[in-house]
Amino acid sequence: MPVIRIEFQKEGSTKYISHLDLMRTIQRSVRRADIPVEYTKGFNPHSRISYGPALAVGVSSSGEYLDMEIKEQLDQDRLIERLNTSLPSGIRATAARYVPDGSSSLASVINAACYSIDGRAQPQNGHLKERLSEFFSLPHVFIEKTDKKGRKKQVDIIPMILDIEKILVQDGRVVLEVILETGSKGNLKPADLLGAIIKETGINLRDVTIHRKGLLVKRGERYFSPLEIFD
């Protein structure tokens, strides 16, 4: 069965819906669009759609991905068009490509994500940019994480900050653009990074919005879109 990989946005008020809600919403949109999706066998059939790493509630994104198994190969532009007429406002498919046979799943291929974090610093001045740069050059920053069994452990987040694209400070407004390790091998949530920044630098950020610019595949020192790399 052909598998199509679809890139989509999750913006506006849909950033407040959970991953589970998103899955349900996409499944129903696909049904409304009458796309011939494949179903799982068994007593409680579900459409065969798989996703990349979940987005936290409250975080918007312009680069989410899903793989959908369909019964017959359809023109990808037509498919996107059809899907977009049935998606709720805020969610929009932006590109698609058929996945070659034998490709790896989104979950196993995605290992990074680019985030933009935007907020107002309190207080508004005091060498904000320098203090932020200093934070990112620290050798280690440990945060406490709780594993699935409820055990607490200390994790160094510095190795999980893969790149710093932008540190912008203007009139007390701070914009950070960072690439963080994301996925099953290592995962740094932007909210945890933010917590560590506040703790280490003493800069308090208010009215924060976090946007995921896109999920990425890191190969060597280069980053690719999941529409470019399949294995």
Binding site: S13, R28, R32, F43
Partner: protein, 616 residues
């Protein structure tokens, strides 16, 4: 306040999707082009509100009008409420996020007495004066419908008016009347007086209640002859032609009934004497299966839902259930659309139907014998015998079901210890039935769940004159069952008697309870239907401070001569019929169900012209 301020709160609350709006099929209009802004209000959280069929119907019905924009507003959960109060954000409608205080109408649906404190809370959050008499021209009209509106007396000071019966047609008349009034610029009182002349509209401020020394009611009279002595409910005469939406809002988050609901019929042919719905929703009117099939087709296409529920008060009484079900499976089974049949009387016919629908998946089956002995089942006119039940349970076990739920009420009129013991006997007989079933056919993991609720006598039922059982007696009976129902396969669930007591007070309450409600809210009561929020101590204090004895409402035996707070409301079923049924109950005499012959409940006198389909 702006939409941006609300966004700021959404990051901090549990389940923000309750407040975002923007779901697929939600309706957005240009408010500059609108004459009437209507907020459909449901006094509970999103997940419950969005499951309600009435909302789904009226939302689209009102939005069909080009001059009207109907939006939704629900009770914010307590975390959201705290943030709204902290940040000075008033109650807003989900679609426009505009404050509902700016609307023309706020229409509450009253489904459950325990949601009343949420109504008060929502009005408080909106900044609209709590009492009808305090509102002026700049305020919306705050109105209510739904089953509890039939005795809305405890809320008489709050609501400007009640809509009694089915809203589809009367709402249109109300809005048309409103537009005329608005264009003439009349007073608030003028509109209310005009509305009071619309069939089905009850304006409580135009009626005076006199009390006797013993606390009972002397009379309820309109303040002028221009207004009707008795207010009749309204109904839709033909369900085949009445509006039904061809789409519904598809929520982002999981809601309680996350599926398409088809309404097979209104009313009920059964005459269970405890059941208010079975009385107030009469007459029986069926939709024909062709119409239903068409509605299902459009709804499935426009929502992408994967499940259709065939709903009504007693789904197995739909006369064309089998062809309807087969037609739906044939048309939509290939697209993995499942059917669910709630409110089924389980017998071998319905079991076969359920098997056909569910094919392989064996979920639980629910039986509602309601009472533990045949004597008491006769008292309540629940036409189910133990033999019926055991045959059905046997068939179910034989078919591989191993999860059975049994629903009962305790505290029914004339109940004795024997009836309580009958509940546990039935549970054990079900267990025995399972072990008598061939091992190769039965499921592996028997679960018999026994649930008992505490009986609440309701207005417009034969038991409207009966006292409720005392809280202590409920607790003793629950204790007795707890000790009897000890078996590894049996679970026992029970209800808090305090909640049922309060429900009984408000169900048959009068206008004097209004101040208790507001006092209880001031003391912090809200979400009383939610165990984690219900605080009987606060209610108790509110009654005491207002000098009102709740036992007067819940525990008192009324005589037939007493003027009941809802006697000036006419639901069609006559007082004489209810009285007769109560008498028959006390002697254990059953009444045949409507299919066997008309029992002259009175409904056909209110609505003549052969509306009632019960005999068809």
């Amino acid at each position: 306040m702006t939409s941006k301020d609300i966004e700021g709160l959404l990051n901090e609350v549990e389940k923000p999707a309750r407040y975002t709006g923007g779901e697929y099929n939600s309706v957005y209009k240009d408010k500059e082009q609108i004459d009437i802004r209507f907020a459909f209000a449901f006094p509970d959280v999103y997940e419950i509100a969005m499951s309600h069929l009435g909302l789904r119907i009226l939302y689209y019905l009102l939005n069909m009008r080009e001059d009207t924009w109907c939006e939704r507003v629900f009770a914010p959960w307590t975390d959201m409420e705290d943030l709204m109060r902290e940040n000075g954000i008033p109650l807003f409608a989900l679609e426009s996020r505009d404050p509902v205080a700016e609307f023309d109408f706020i229409g509450f649906t009253l489904q459950y007495e325990m949601s009343y404190s949420n109504i008060v809370n929502m009005l408080s959050l909106s900044g609209i004066p709590m009492q009808s008499s305090q509102r002026d021209k700049g305020h919306p009209f705050v109105i209510a419908g739904g089953p509890c509106a039939y005795n809305g007396e405890p809320l008489a000071d709050i609501f400007d008016f009640f809509v009694l019966g089915e809203g589809e047609e009367v709402l249109t008349t109300i809005l048309d009347t409103y537009l005329v009034w608005k264009s003439r610029g009349g007073s608030r009182r003028e509109f209310l007086e005009r509305a009071a002349l619309i069939e089905g509209v009850y304006v409580p401020s135009l009626y005076n209640v006199e009390y006797r020394d013993d606390g009972t009611i002397e009379s309820v009279r309109p303040i002028s002859d221009r207004f009707p002595q008795r207010i009749n409910k309204v109904i839709v005469r033909d369900l085949n032609t009445v509006f039904f939406p061809d789409k519904i809002i598809v929520p982002f988050m999981d809601i309680v009934h996350d599926r398409i609901i088809l309404e097979l019929f209104r009313g009920c042919v059964r005459g269970c004497r405890f059941c208010q719905a079975g009385m107030v929703y009469r007459p029986v009117r069926e939709k024909n299966p062709g119409i239903l099939a068409g509605q299902a087709e459009k709804l499935i296409k426009n929502t992408g839902y994967e499940e259709v529920s065939l709903s009504s008060l007693s789904t197995s009484d739909y006369s064309k259930l089998q062809p309807l079900v087969q037609g739906l499976i044939q048309a939509h089974g290939g697209k993995k659309v499942g059917l669910s049949l709630p409110s089924m009387r389980i017998d071998s016919f319905s079991l076969n139907l359920i098997k056909e629908i569910q094919k392989v998946r064996k979920t639980g089956l629910t039986f509602a014998p309601e009472a533990g002995t045949q004597r008491l089942r006769d008292v309540i006119n629940k036409g189910v015998t133990e033999a019926d039940l055991m045959i059905a349970a046997g068939d179910a076990f034989e078919a591989g079901y191993d999860n059975v739920k049994l629903y009962f009420m305790i505290g029914l009129p004339t109940e004795t210890e024997e009836d309580i013991d009958g509940i546990s006997d039935l549970a054990f007989k079900a267990v025995d039935k399972y072990f008598a079933t061939d091992k190769r056919n039965r499921g592996r993991n028997l679960r018999v769940t026994v649930s008992t609720s505490c009986f609440v006598p309701k207005p417009f039922t034969p038991f409207q004159w009966q006292p409720q059982d005392s809280m202590q007696s409920f607790k003793d009976k629950q204790q007795r069952l707890k000790s009897k129902l000890r078996h590894r396969a049996i679970n026992y669930n029970w209800h808090q008697p305090e909640t049922s007591f309060l429900e009984a007070v408000f169900a048959r309450g009068d206008r004097r309870l209004g101040k208790v409600l507001i006092r209880a809210w001031e003391l912090g009561c809200r979400f009383d239907g939610w165990k984690e929020h219900f605080d009987y101590g606060k209610w108790s204090r509110a009654f005491e401070e207002c000098g009102i004895d709740p036992d007067f409402y819940a525990l008192r035996q009324r005589d037939y001569g007493e003027v009941l707070p809802w006697d000036h409301i006419n639901v069609g079923v006559s007082r004489e019929f209810l009285k007769g049924e109560n008498e028959r109950a006390l002697t254990g005499e059953t009444t045949p169900y409507c299919r066997e012959g008309c029992i002259n409940c009175g409904i056909s006198e209110l609505f003549d012209g052969g509306i009632c389909n019960a005999g068809d």
